[in-house]
């Protein structure tokens, strides 16, 4: 059960119970994300100002992993440029998909999600918010993104 407690760390359970930035932002770029495997839906709001993410928030239903990931992501994104956000996406993605325990970039609070890599069926849960964010900062498209 040690892998399990690695996955469901207290921090993750806390973010699941009381997600940060769990709200809508009026007038912000809005992007839908959908994971057809589990039916999870997420709406991400990104407000850019002067090339920087001024505010970011999300709404939707999902499992603990996807909610905690979205919650932690929104905390981490504030003040970042679109390019920095994309770079963070790449680092995060590498962290949850790498098949060895070797050093990955230190992602601070986001590293509580590293345990996901032991659970291949849950990687999509952890990455849903991130794929949605990537779509939101890439363009103004409103086509829903999917992790399938």
């Amino acid at each position: 059960m040690s892998e399990l407690s690695e996955l469901y760390q207290e921090v993750i359970l806390d973010h699941n119970r009381r997600p940060h930035n769990f709200r809508a932002i009026e007038g912000a770029t809005k992007q839908e994300g959908y994971n057809p495997l589990c039916g999870d839906r997420l709406t991400l709001y990104v407000a850019m100002e002067g090339g920087v993410i001024k505010d970011v928030a999300f709404q939707g239903s999902g499992c603990a992993i996807s909610k905690a990931s979205a919650s932690l992501m929104t905390d981490a994104l504030k003040g970042k440029t679109a390019d920095e956000a994309r770079a963070l996406f790449d680092q995060f993605h590498a962290m949850i998909t790498s098949d060895h325990d070797g050093p990955t970039a230190d992602l601070g609070k986001l590293s509580v999600l590293a345990g996901v890599r032991e659970f291949p069926t849950r990687i999509k849960c952890a990455s849903l918010a991130w794929h949605t964010m990537k779509a939101a900062v890439a363009s103004e498209t409103d086509a829903p993104v999917s992790t399938e």
Partner: protein, 415 residues
């Protein structure tokens, strides 16, 4: 969900059944496997594995196409399975049995061959709210191609079809009724015989999706009087990649081919091709021969057990599971039809099904979590997903006890 009497249960030796399924001895994450995902796909008995292995070792050759002994053996085994499938469904004639890749393939065949050649703009295809996506999307495709319109029979809060609405939706415009025999998401057994009679009264043709019925119920297509019945081998203890379409002979004969190729023809010239007779007209190309042989062995396996006793056993386990899960604080069962089989779908307050699935898996308990390819059912109940424990003939009360222990662990972590 009639409870079997103790004498019936005594006739069914579940320990003996379990010994027939080698995978049940597997350990997962260091725990004994508790397999509660048979509605997704069932496990296979030794006899099925052996039949397929024997086929490749002693009979493999292309069927219907060669004069040598192996081809004769392969053809005899393949056609032998057709006779077994006919008996399994009590079909009047083995010509009415078409081998397919599975339920999805069978429904697409009927939609594209029968549906596409007969439907006119404004004709109605009547589905139900309980359908698996594979009994929805093929009809949407053919509706788009022909201008036909799709109507849907609603369900009540227990997950039963609304029979009043069904009667109201039937009209002379209704050309096809396509409905599941047993719901994969909720386990509801639909009163198909009665619904078929009512559909026939308005002149509609009826397809029954028997994917979830075949592993549990004794099926008699003549008593049901259905026009098409489809199933998947892999849900009824046979291998993947094969299935059965039963079709009324007169309909099959009038239907155009679904796919073109070898075996489905009588003669080919570039000017004109004559199609083979049924069922071969619908079996283009080299089929999944080993799979069909395995399906035959699965049918033999089921024929060798007391089906009524097996169902009574499963019903007793389902009843036990329902009572046990209901006692877990915050658990809510989704789908409480009076007639159910094989499936217990539920949600736990404050826990997403996906998280529960991972935690259960770590304890060796395999369930399915999600929308079960039945998004309309989930939408109807206003939920994104459920935890689904589904049963096969090999499951026991001990399996349910392991599930319940696992669910308590889930609650410890989350609530």
């Amino acid at each position: 969900m009639a409870i079997g009497t103790s004498s019936v249960q005594a006739a069914f030796d579940v320990a003996k059944i379990r010994a027939d399924f080698p995978i049940l001895a597997e350990r997962v994450h260091g725990q004994p496997l508790v397999y509660l995902d048979s509605a997704n796909t069932s496990q296979k008995p030794e006899s099925v594995l052996k039949a397929m292995d024997d086929y490749y070792r002693h009979a493999n050759a292309n069927i219907h196409r060669a004069t040598h002994l192996l081809s004769e053996r392969a053809t005899a085994l393949y056609e032998g399975s057709r006779a077994k499938a006919a008996a399994f469904l009590n079909a009047p004639d083995k010509r009415t049995i078409v081998f397919t890749k599975g339920t999805t393939d069978g429904i697409n065949l009927v939609a594209q061959s029968y549906g596409r050649s007969t439907l006119k703009p404004g004709d109605e295809i009547l589905l139900t709210w309980l359908e698996h996506h594979s009994n929805i999307v093929p009809w949407q495709l053919v509706a788009e191609q022909t201008g036909a319109v799709i109507k849907v029979v609603p369900i009540n809060d227990a997950g039963e079809l609304d029979q009043g609405e069904f009667a109201a939706l039937l009209s002379p415009r209704t050309k096809i009724v396509a409905m599941g025999h047993v719901s994969n998401a909720l386990g509801t057994i639909n009163p198909v015989a009665d619904m078929i009679a009512r559909a026939h009264a308005v002149g509609a043709v009826v397809l029954v999706d028997g994917a979830q019925a075949a592993p549990h119920l004794v099926i008699d297509v003549q008593a049901l009087d259905c026009d098409f019945y489809v199933l998947s081998s892999h849900k009824m203890f046979g291998p993947t990649g094969t299935g059965v379409l039963y079709g009324r002979a007169s309909l099959l004969e009038a239907m155009p081919p679904y796919q073109g190729g070898g075996d489905m023809i009588a003669s080919v010239t570039f000017e004109r091709t004559l199609y083979n007779q049924v069922p071969y007209k619908f079996e283009a190309g080299t089929p999944n021969m080993a799979g069909v042989v395995g399906l035959g062995a699965a049918i033999d396996y089921l024929a060798g057990i007391d089906r009524e006793a097996a169902l009574a056993h499963e019903d007793a386990v389902l009843e036990y599971a329902t009572a046990q899960v209901r006692q877990i604080p915050g658990a809510r069962i989704v789908g409480e039809a009076r007639h159910k089989t094989g499936v217990l779908s539920f949600v736990l307050d404050g826990v997403h099904p996906h998280d529960a699935g991972t935690i259960l898996d770590q304890q060796g308990v395999a369930v399915r979590t999600g929308q079960h390819c039945a998004q309309p059912v989930m939408d109807r109940f206003g939920i994104a997903a459920t935890i689904r424990a589904s049963l096969g003939i090999y499951n026991t009360r001990e399996d349910i006890d392991a599930l319940v222990r696992g669910l308590h662990k889930v609650r410890e972590l989350f609530v």
